[in-house]
Symmetry: C2
Subunit: 142 residues, 2 copies
DNA sequence: TATGTTGTAATTCATATAGTTACAACAAGT
DNA sequence: ACTTGTTGTAACTATATGAATTACAACATA
């Protein structure tokens, strides 16, 4: 199992808003044609990003804009905004037998290590900001 | 989306084999009662661990044993053995529009960062060996 | 008021995992 | 050789999750 494409869709969405926001009205329809998904997916993505205080969306008139400094938006912020991450990256089997010495202690032994691994990944995601991504993207667009 | 419970099932399986292997025949049925899943799940798990050279399974007579030194079995080894990890931890949306400057470059900009995050997690998993886990478990069992 | 858009619910579709049943292949004891 | 218990695996079902889609009320602006 893996992390959903909601994450990369959200990153793409933000980059599209930044890149085209000056010249176009970045509606869900517009963004959807770049990401190549259904516009409703973009609306839901924008809803999550809005809840997280990263974008503002104009209901009615349409269009989205980024309201947080690019250098203060990390990949981790976006990841947390759109992917339900509260229950951890790793799935644990449901009911280890508490009558068995191993089953009884497996959580105590393993949970910490799994959290460590997850934390290592999140630390890495926090290192990259959208200021970085925009710089890299602009370098490629030229 | 997340990493499947196959991983924790496999860890549990190995710890059960090590803990009980001296006194019991660790059949799929036996292990399944500790993990609390269907025996077939354990057989499939053991099949993967066997392919990876971590365990030996006696077909017919029954029972599994660990054939690799505990200090040389890391959590990453087990993770890679049972979870299909080739296609990456992150799902990427399928068809970003190549006619759009953002869609055309999104992979080039993002892929490296995603791989970095995944690598950070795997590095952390590699730090823990089954010698460590057994020590921790034995400490709790007393 | 007319137009175009957002926000969201409801439904369908696709995929992946876990659970289950069934059974042939196999190993070892008798 | 026969019996017993187990593995290995295929086939199928059940369940969960995400993505796609349809539909429409709420909304903002000209």
């Amino acid at each position: 199992m893996k992390i959903t494409s909601r994450f990369t869709v959200a990153v793409h969405t933000l980059l599209a808003i930044h890149t085209f926001g000056k010249d176009y009205k970045t509606t869900s329809e517009f963004i959807a044609s770049s990401v190549n998904v259904n516009p409703v997916i973009i609306r839901r993505t924008l809803g999550s990003l809005k809840e997280a205080g990263i974008v503002d969306v104009k209901a009615g008139s349409g269009g989205a804009s980024i309201i947080k400094p690019l250098k203060d938006i990390t990949l981790l912020d976006v990841y947390k905004a759109v992917d339900s991450v509260e229950d951890g990256l790793f799935n644990f089997h449901d009911n280890p037998n508490p009558a068995c010495p191993v089953g009884k202690n497996i959580h105590a032994v393993l949970d910490g290590h799994l959290l460590d691994a997850q934390a290592a990944m999140e630390r890495k995601l926090r290192e990259t900001t959208f200021a970085d991504l925009v710089r890299e993207l602009d370098g490629r667009i030229g």
